[in-house]
Symmetry: C2
Subunit: 549 residues, 2 copies
């Protein structure tokens, strides 16, 4: 029995293109004699769809596309994820096509509330879809038979029911395979942890498991691919590519599956983390541009590490010809800011233009003079510089159609250490879910085959350069300590006492916590940030702006 | 039996202050001989709390405050809303205090998914709290007995179960009262529709009903108060104030409740809508400032109607001394823009300062000259003017600590007719959920006791004045038509065909729909908008930025 796994990169809402890709893979699988082809969760509609699924004709259009798909599948069974409607309910479902006809739909149960779900809660879950209450009771009915093999269909997190339900107690109902259609997004460790979890499901139930994942970026979420097949011992016998579309046909007949050599499960390490982070971000950028029809980006180069890393990624993904950079020094910029930025541009093979902001700054101050009436230089003047830069970048973006890339990192976003409508500008935040210490790791990764980002950029002390001699460490703890505290407060949800108990100074912890609370209003207005952590600010951690907790 | 209704305005997360207010009302009710005092849903924690309830020690601190409340309630029964925890689950609950001790908790069932919920879905529902599955089965256990009367405790939308459960079939279990603790937010028509619904619950079940609502603004949500008491015929016998804290004691013994005169149920009208909208927005502004510790606002006056309405509301709420306005005319501003703005400022009793933006604009264009190289005037130059204004306003905001009020309206936000980091700047969007035609209605309401907003502002043709002779109607349909189309697409979720079938030109409908889809990325970065409609963009209608639907 030959099973084709189609690891596609659909575009949310683009039913027509997604359908064409699906039919193309069906033809390919049919041509190679596959008995069944399996696509990922919501492969036809793309995901996350949020409220699009609740728009009048969207699901109807999915049904109509499904009919076309069925026509193309006369000689192969198909399992494809899509939204369905029943009465007033909208479900996250899988359509089953056999002999050119849609013969059944299976819907996700999804009875999870947010805090029971893993890190990617909120993407499809109770907010936009209905629960399929019958699913939990009627798991044995979610079975199809292909080539004499019984296959249990599972969607996404529903897989977690299997153990608790013990629905395989009788040999009569026990399936020969679990077919798992998923939309597993990237987050640090996901590639290893998800695969470990899938392996254990196969092993504990003693059933071979095929898990088909989506791949690709969709606004801020990146599905990482890495579809897998396990034998009933939980050994991995096939793994598709990470972060790329892929296609595979495997003979899963009992005899053959037994003969398959097993592949080692992936192991987390610092180097796999930085490599996967880089690939997730690169794919996120590529698809944000490709799927929204943009080809070129712009950004400001400050001479600091954040903009250097973003520029390197942009050039890698979009090509040197499609990245426009601008230096915007002020009277407070150090000499090395300009020379470092120019060196970086040279290494990347991009042209770097320069606009001095001092004359513009002076024209603002002249206009404001009657109002400011000689009040001393303060935050207003610091932020003004950042906003002049943000406005210059947007003028270029508007003039030439380059999307502005935001360069803020997660550490400064958490601390509110950035100027709204200034350096927070941008269509997409590349590093908004990457702590500063992780930005350094990305810089080293980018340089692993030779210097792209000049050493002097990596080694200089971080500074916003908005006043004379300013250093980040004037206002914030050094980043090693700051990131350690932030990770515990945000990702691990610790209380201040718990963080301090891990060896951090209580006064520093308390200051960090205060700054984190006080900057919620800024985060509310930021561009979407490519999600790579298990707790993206504003997404996995939603805090009301006006609150005193 | 005397029942006190306490309609409080808690601050989200401020357990200490909320507790003090609760104790103050308990003392007042005890002093007046009340047997029971009832507070609103989540009165102790404030709401919406979002992820705050899932933070390590938050619910513990609520329990601890509850102990203090119990101590203060030796001589009165208390029902107060708060979050609770049981194992890994977090519930939206009501604590019952009797004789100075916490004797029971009742938790909200909340088995609704978003599309089954009314317009204020997503505030507390499945995303942040767990379902209390026992509730639906064990409603008869959610009963307390006070002074011999059996009272069924219901929280928020759980009230909708009552009819379907038919749990009152036996006289033995039938309660004498329904005590409903709610957090009902304002939306157009809510004051009339909610009360109608509550009345029908009392009437159909033939049980008197007390519904205690919260009041107050919490970031973008405004609870409207208007707590009510119905007799078992569904007649309203008491109604507390709209949009204000209030307190009431009513003798609800059977004899007395029968004697109570009934009050007419409120009826929706154009004039009640505009009055309630004004009050909801005014309260939202007041509490945004008060609860976040700000006292003064700033905004730019363009001479147009949106900024005029916002200025009038700000002066009404914060006082003329606390509102700083700035005119920022350009070479494209018409003469009447400045004179109208000055007349408005005069009417409001506020000082209006002026900064000409042309010199700043010229300094930008000079800096950009080597890059723009003589390319013709385009969107980039239009937006530049808006961003100079936005930057000037933020400089003033930073210098003097005035919160910047955003003046964008829902129609232009829906169309993307605004400049990101320019006129979209601001901490709070006052009119972001108010269609342009509704802004005119607000202006007339503001003028109902005499001219505040000059007639010339109300009567002039809308223009962004970013190029010579520009009018909104150059790019958009006239607002009567635009708002009609937008309301149908957004609030009523109609398809293009359905909107056209109501008499709108298909070409115009299609253009509006395209602009609505194309501007999602701008809405993602806007300030929170005070919610007054039944479908706030980005909240009740969440659309992925990168999508082709």
């Amino acid at each position: 029995m030959n099973v084709a796994v189609s690891q596609l990169n659909p575009t949310v809402g683009d039913i027509q293109s997604n359908k064409e890709k699906i039919i193309e893979h069906i033809n390919r699988a049919t041509g190679k004699g596959a008995d069944l082809i399996v696509f990922g969760e919501m492969a036809l509609s793309g995901t996350p769809t949020y409220d699009i699924v609740n728009m009048t004709d969207f699901v109807d259009r999915c049904y109509s596309a499904l009919s076309d798909i069925a026509e193309a599948a006369a000689n192969i069974d198909v399992l494809v994820g899509m939204p369905t409607v029943s009465g007033d309910d909208t479900f996250n479902s899988v359509a089953y096509i056999r002999e050119g006809k849609v013969v059944d739909f299976f819907s996700k149960a999804m009875p999870f509330s947010r805090d029971e779900l893993p890190y990617y809660a909120g993407i499809d879950s109770p907010s936009f879809f209905d629960e399929n209450e019958s699913q939990t009771d009627e798991l044995p009915e979610h079975i199809i038979t292909v080539d004499g093999y019984k296959m249990l269909i599972m969607i996404g997190d529903d897989l977690q029911f299997i153990n608790s339900l013990q629905c395989f107690d009788t040999p009569r109902t026990k399936p020969d395979f679990i077919m798992h259609l998923a939309a597993r997004p990237y987050s640090h460790g996901a590639l290893e942890e998800d695969i470990e979890l899938l392996s254990s499901v196969a092993k504990e139930n003693e059933v071979p498991l095929v898990s088909v994942n989506l791949v690709g970026g969709n606004t801020d979420i990146v599905y990482y691919g890495s579809s897998v097949i396990f034998n009933k011992q939980g050994q991995m016998i096939k793994r598709l590519k990470n972060f790329e579309e892929d296609f595979d046909i495997t003979d899963l007949s009992s005899e053959n599956i037994r003969r398959h050599k097993s592949i080692n499960l992936p192991v987390q390490s610092a180097s796999s983390k930085v490599r996967h982070t880089y690939k997730a971000i690169a794919l996120g950028v590529k698809d944000y541009f490709g799927k929204s029809g943009f080809t070129s980006a712009c950004l400001g180069l400050s001479g600091g590490i954040d903009s250097a890393v973003v520029a390197a990624i942009a050039v890698d993904v979009l090509g040197a010809n499609n990245v426009r950079v601008l230096m915007m020094p002020s009277q407070f910029s150090s000499g090395h800011s300009v020379t470092d930025a120019m060196k970086l541009a040279e290494n990347l093979g991009i042209k770097c233009e320069k606009v001095e902001i001092e004359p513009i700054y002076n024209s603002f101050m002249k206009g404001l003079e009657p109002i400011f009436q000689g009040l001393p230089f303060s935050l207003a003047e610091e932020n003004l510089q950042a906003r002049i830069r943000g406005t210059l970048m947007m003028a270029i973006s508007n003039k030439f159609g380059n999307l502005l890339l935001n360069t803020s990192n997660k550490s400064e976003i958490a601390m509110g250490y950035g100027t709204l409508y200034g350096d927070t500008n941008g269509a997409l935040s590349i590093l908004g879910d990457v702590y500063k210490t992780e930005v350094y790791a990305l810089a080293e990764y980018i340089n692993h085959k030779g210097e792209v980002i000049p050493r002097s950029i990596i080694e200089k002390e971080p500074s916003a350069e908005l006043r004379e001699g300013q250093k980040d460490s004037d206002s914030l703890p050094v980043y090693d300590i700051l990131d350690g505290i932030l990770y515990r407060l945000i990702e691990e949800g610790m209380s201040l006492m718990e963080v301090a108990a891990e060896g951090y100074d209580m006064e520093v912890v308390s200051k960090v916590s205060k700054l984190l609370k006080a900057s919620e209003h800024k985060r509310y207005q930021l561009a979407p940030a490519l999600r790579v952590s298990k707790c993206t600010l504003g997404k996995d951690r939603v805090i009301p702006i006006v609150s005193r907790y």
